[in-house]
Homo-oligomer: 330 residues x 4
């Protein structure tokens, strides 16, 4: 059986997750790994049977059916543009680029290949959120009116470690901005964000905030609220609920175990999962399986590069709203 | 408006609860209180506007429409028999008598007044259990097959304080034995009980056990399990679930507040209520209101003295099963 | 025992609720009822033993210890100002007046009696919300950072029936604006509201909206989101959650029964209560008991007229935000 | 890297599950598949890269490090005895044999290899039950007093399809009998079973029952109740709870999705998983990984053949109790 040869850029935790998940699809063969750290690349190659190559070799090998870009954000656009010159499928972690101008330029350069570039918005592949979207599609709650997304990390990074981050809005909230477009099949019309450093005011010294409350009006009028925070002390807090004309659909947090202890201290269930690798393990698997299916069948992908740009544009408007202290229309 | 005059035997916590609940029915007038403790009787009389009288006066006053017997169990039969000679309605805390022979004799002496003697099986009036019974009646779960009752006190009494008790089966499980007859509209055919002193082996020194597991086969075949214990460290543990051909109906524990705390220690809800006065507050109110309605309209009551005897007979068989280490047929 | 004589303005559902709850405090005597509908006033008088009088008699009787104003909102200010000329305690349903200018004038006219005028913000007396506030005070979740209030009616009124309403913000959200001040012991610094008619666009024809999303920044920085709607098809949706530095405290919806049915259709619990009279029954009782205690002891009340004005001012800013499409600073 | 060569007996759903799970351990190599159905064996071989061989070849190949027996129960003992003559590790689905005499003889024939024969009691590897056991070990609930196991299939088999089954006790309850030994680190002292055909009386015509209620007293006194049924219409009903001196630990049902719908019909969550392959997917993976670890390191296994016999002996006593209508001591 001829296998589809994959080239992976990156060898960190995200890249490894994709490599391991790919290994369960017998049609796919992880052929190349490209990473500046020879040690890290070598380790992942050893574990997967792939070969470590340099970037040029990776792009020159015409047998590569797909490129997966799981490198630091600032490098995405370069890889993307070069990969787009091949006829291979591309999977790219978000964002295209944190600079909206560069992101737009990159998208323009894709020249018709946009729909063969899958963006790593993993939440779209979470089975729980999919069940919620299907419930809406099945008319279970009527027309959506008011949506609530809660999306908080479990542990805030040290201030110094957050200096070079693109920040809470572009790193985290952007996932929720994409989620809402997908969930409601609708576009964001207007966004207002309140942003503060409530966990630690020192974040302000490096130009960052730790708590944001986003209010969105969709094109069809639906209200959306997104609560983001760098820290929920009880775990990675990922919830979604939609009020519609006929009722409400909601997905709460997930925990590693169902154990409930009842003692004189109360009735206590497990904390939610701590990290996104745990909470979204199934989603990461499903998204790369979906990409593999596109590679194997030659079909376009979803979410694609255009979706990636749209989410970035909402994030850009959100940043602008913080500065202007007013809602921004898109 | 002519009021229905009530005479209350007892002035303890149970008697006071009935008095307070009765006060909210404008048709009823708590006329007399009879209790060996003048102080306790006086206090309750002061709070309710009733008059303290002796037993003979209480029974001789032809204006009394109803007697409520909320005294220690060993005195019930005497009060019952004497009250049954009037035409008044009677409300009697369970049991008729802890001695099954005396209970039977007492019932015989009621001579046709059985259905005007309401027994204090408060669980029948709990709105949650009623909702469950109605769900069964409405066919929501089909025909009952397997029933589970969990009924545990929050705090075990000191060994010495338990010497004169009639014990876990006759004090507590008997409530569940009555509950199951009412819930399933069926009779107990066979009962097997495993009884031990697991909380404190010293209970055995006063002839008591603290943990019982009862298995019942109903006349129509339904399996019933009753888990009783003198102590659930997290609160008064009162649960009921019924598996039927089409599904399951269940009532879990109730707590004073809906507050849920999520911290690094877990996701913690309130403990269940601690006492039966809290957990069954609504049931106590509803049962005495139902009795008042019977008094006001002259109709018979439910559960009546015959139900009281039936529950005692099941408890008697349960005791016998513990001794014989085998199931007992009724 | 000398009783404290109460005069009640109004004889509708709210007034009746207060009357019934007051009846359980033996120190209080409902002396007068004042209502334009002789029939309604007479019925409530008959049920409570009070006397129907006209307004002038009510205010001229020096024996009245407290006035309770449970009439339509437009009449509150007049009653309040007149009652404030006596030395009686006053309980007044919110608002002081829907016109913020009149409300301010009324407060000025109280001349030092503000803290003897209790406003009917019942949510402050809900035992679940109190448990949440106590958990914060006890340091269970650290410093509040992000608060979410969901407050939706179960059933939207017909458009024509909503013409004379002061609307979703002033009728409903104002309760939540007061709640947040009490919960956080902090003032609202800034409010932004997105308001639309999503349930029924015809509401716009009578100048009303049915769905609002309010974003608040408190003086100490805490973010607050309030989701209001005229309709949650599954019941009166009343939830509250607070994320703090150490975790989260939350109160969910309450239902009439704990019954859970598990069938081929899923695992189904009861809907939340349908109306505020059901959901907040305990809160209504507690608030009037607290008022009675203030009357009996002569102490000031909480929330008082100043709190009433504050909540109205936030609502006013919220209305302004809707018009200006920008956040409003208070 | 030298791999450990595995031989798999059986090619049905259980065998396939083991094969797929084994494939994720790079140290293991599925070498042989033995199954009377050439077609089925061939399909699994194709999917896994194994070779189809006959039984004799399988036992004669000295390179085999482990045998996995996932064939119909009546064949287990033969395979076991023959495999035990090699020095290979053995994994055997329960039971050793449904006939207790044959099971005992088989165990005797193992001659010291008992602890290298792992029995397929998958529930011991369920992460939720493990969390519960760890909570007990950590002293979270004190000493266990009263245990409840609910273990019901989702769908009852047709009567004719159940003729050759060893029945509800030996097929299903035996899992729970093993579970309780493991959970409590204690032995069963006494067992009483009530067994009936309540779902369909026709089961009696083929010598089967569909509903059993088992009451167990452990050697250290703990009470255990096991509720088994061939059908819970809402899904595969697998629950476990333990009351101890300090509180309770419980594991409820698991569902495929966290979606909760709130409509006029109630607040509805997903049904529990439908099958054991879904509910115990993680447990099946973990048990075979644990076996692989034993193979790779040469260590003994748990639960072993002795555990297998013990569970069968409890099941045998349970059957006897049904016949004798009395508790049976072990």
């Amino acid at each position: 059986m001829k296998k589809f040869r994959i080239c992976l850029f990156g060898a960190g935790e995200m890249a490894s997750t994709h490599a391991m998940n790919l290994a369960t699809d017998a049609r796919m063969e992880l052929a190349f790994i490209v990473d500046p750290s020879a040690e890290r690349a070598g380790a992942l190659a050893a574990a997967t049977g792939a070969r470590v190559v340099d970037m040029d070799s990776a792009f020159e090998d015409a047998s590569i059916a797909a490129y997966i870009i799981a490198t630091p954000p600032r490098t995405h656009a370069d890889y993307l543009q070069r990969a787009a010159q091949t006829q291979a499928h591309i999977f790219c972690e978000k964002p295209i680029d944190h600079d909206i101008g560069r992101a737009r330029a990159c998208l323009a350069a894709l020249q018709g290949r946009e729909s063969f570039v899958q963006m790593g918005f993993n939440r779209r592949f979470d089975p729980h959120f999919i069940a919620l979207k299907q419930a809406i599609a099945a008319g279970k709650i009527g027309t959506p009116e008011q949506v609530l997304i809660i999306s908080r990390d479990a542990e805030a990074p040290p201030v110094e470690g957050f200096i070079h981050s693109s920040g809470l809005i572009k790193e985290t909230a952007v996932h929720d901005y994409d989620l809402i477009r997908w969930l409601l099949d609708d576009e964001v019309a207007e966004v207002y964000v309140m942003a503060d450093a409530l966990i630690n005011p020192d974040y302000l010294t490096v130009g960052q905030v730790d708590t944001t409350t986003t209010t969105i009006r969709m094109a069809r009028g639906t209200h959306v609220t997104v609560l983001n925070s760098l820290r929920a002390a009880f775990g990675y807090d990922q919830r979604l609920e939609v009020l519609g004309t006929l009722g409400q659909a909601a997905v709460g947090n997930l925990a590693q175990s169902q154990l409930v202890l009842s003692t004189h201290q109360g009735v206590t269930g497990e904390k939610p999962y701590f990290s996104y690798f745990q909470r979204y393990a199934e989603a990461y698997r499903a998204e790369i399986m979906d990409f593999a299916e596109a590679v194997a069948t030659g079909r376009p992908v979803t979410p694609d590069a255009t979706d990636g740009l749209r989410a970035s544009e909402i994030a850009e408007a959100a940043m602008l709203s913080v500065q202007s202290k007013c809602p921004i229309r898109l």
